[in-house]
């Protein structure tokens, strides 16, 4: 597109290719530098992006990454993120089109966090770091400009959330007493990876006084219990971000991630009679589940909030000071989206 004789920023707004913030004009030179940094051919097809299945070539991704403000060396992370969201397991079609509010959250593992200065510490969900801000933004621009997920046209989210501008964090592996998210999923500690979760906004959980793993995990369970809807059951991948101080409390009791998951999974069951529609709200167990019980209103069969303990994904991140954790709910009901990891190449 030629934008001669005009203000390029205004022209790009007029073409409807921004996220509402000004974008860096994608000149041939800037895009060429970004493509070069990938070591790949400009025309290489990385993925077809749902829901409209536009072709995300290396060049198309580079154009959107330039517009988002990425440095050329961020491109491999953006490409890996595009690959991950276009994996069928992620269900980007649903994520981009639903009336619910998910945004793809990128969690980066590996040494690349240091090379690119991806924030894993204080304020990691917030502003101030170019890599976090622009890598997440580049993925959003690809979803809209290549995938067609225009808000109010194809993307029909009732609310969306601020993570749809950008949503990218690193795991603070150095402050974690445990294996990283990537290592838990079969990668080596030296591998650079992205993990993509169709995610709601983070919910901060305050707990200044717990000093034992069971006490702290009971607090976390109470927040996890109400995600999506307090009577939602059989939920899938959901991220738990423990601050270094909270992680130290849990690990200090000798608990690993598997212990946390088991505790939370077991605690997060409720009897059928508390989950029927009309008890504490009109929503509740769907009809096909209710039909399995002769008298749901009086049935005490425990129903799990999460389908399996393994759906509770745990990372350590955030500032050194502060007894907080964050719950990042996934948009992950049965047959819906799943966490997808990809190596950064």
């Amino acid at each position: 597109m030629a934008l001669a004789g005009t203000d390029p920023i205004e022209e790009l707004y007029a073409r409807g290719v921004t996220d509402g913030l000004p974008v860096v004009p994608p000149t041939r030179e800037r895009v060429a530098r970004a493509v070069e940094a990938t070591g790949r051919a400009a025309a290489e097809l990385i993925a077809e992006v749902p829901p409209n299945y536009g072709r995300a070539t290396v060049e198309k991704i580079a154009i959107n990454a330039v517009m988002a403000g990425c440095r050329p060396d961020y491109l491999p992370v953006v490409i890996a993120a595009v690959e991950a969201v276009c994996d069928d397991a992620f269900d980007l079609h649903g994520v981009s089109a639903t009336t619910n509010a998910p945004a793809p959250l990128i969690v980066v593992n590996g040494p690349i966090r240091h090379r690119l200065d991806i924030n894993c510490g204080a304020g990691l969900f917030g502003p101030g770091w170019r890599a976090n801000a622009t890598i997440g933004r580049a993925l959003r621009l690809v979803c809209v400009n290549v995938g067609g997920a225009r808000p109010g046209v194809v993307s029909m989210s009732t609310f969306a959330h601020p993570g749809r501008y950008t949503y990218c964090i690193g795991e603070r592996e150095e402050a974690s007493p445990w294996d990283s998210l990537a290592v838990e999923h079969g990668f080596a500690a030296g591998d650079d990876t992205v993990a993509l979760l169709a995610a709601d906004a983070p919910i901060t959980v305050y707990d200044q006084r717990s000093r034992t793993a069971p006490d702290l995990c009971a607090t976390l369970a109470a927040t996890l219990a109400v995600i999506e809807h307090h009577k939602m059951t059989h939920w899938g991948d959901t991220l738990l971000v423990l601050s270094p101080e909270h992680a130290a409390i849990v690990a200090g009791d000798g608990w690993g991630k598997a212990d946390v998951r088991r505790f939370l999974f077991e605690r997060l069951h409720r009897p059928v009679h508390e989950l029927v529609p009309g008890v504490n709200g009109g929503d509740g167990l769907p009809e096909h589940v209710l039909r399995k019980f002769a008298d749901p209103a009086h049935d005490a069969t425990p129903i799990p909030k999460f389908r399996k303990p393994e759906h509770l994904k745990i990372v350590v991140a955030g500032g050194s000071a502060g007894r907080f954790s964050a719950v990042v709910p996934g948009w992950t009901f049965s047959k819906g989206s799943n966490l997808v990891l990809r190596r950064i190449r």
Binding site: M1, A2, L3, A4, G5, P8, E11, L12, V17, P25, P26, T27, R28, V31, V49, P50, P51, N52, Y53, G54, R55, A56, E59, K60, I63, N64, M67, D91, H93, G94, T98, T99, L141, N145, V146, G147, G148, R150, V153, V154, P286, E287, F333, K335, G336, S337
Partner: protein, 92 residues
């Protein structure tokens, strides 16, 4: 003159809907339940009304496995080849 590269892909534009038939007389109508809560209730009523008021030839009922994903290809092909009109039950 500075040239800027196009961040969009030509297929990633809103699609046009198919032309609407003037009448349902003698038409095969498929009612697609996307598996949203109570979508089947809505389509049951649509089916009743169609039988009462429109001279449709046949009403076919189909169901997507989940509302969260596109209809699987085989289901789409079944519908495309065998129906004149498709009504999809979005129940949000």
């Amino acid at each position: 003159m500075t040239e800027y590269l196009d961040p969009t892909d030509s297929v990633a534009v809103p699609r046009k809907t198919a032309p609407r038939p003037a009448s349902l007389d003698g038409k095969v109508v498929t009612l697609l339940d996307i598996s949203k809560a109570k979508g089947d209730h809505l389509l049951d009523r649509v089916e009743e009304l169609l039988r009462e008021r429109a001279g449709v030839k046949t009403i076919v009922r189909k169901k997507k496995p989940t509302f969260a994903r596109p209809a699987p290809d085989p289901l789409r092909q079944e519908i495309v080849g065998a129906t004149d009109v498709l009504v999809e039950g979005l129940a949000d």
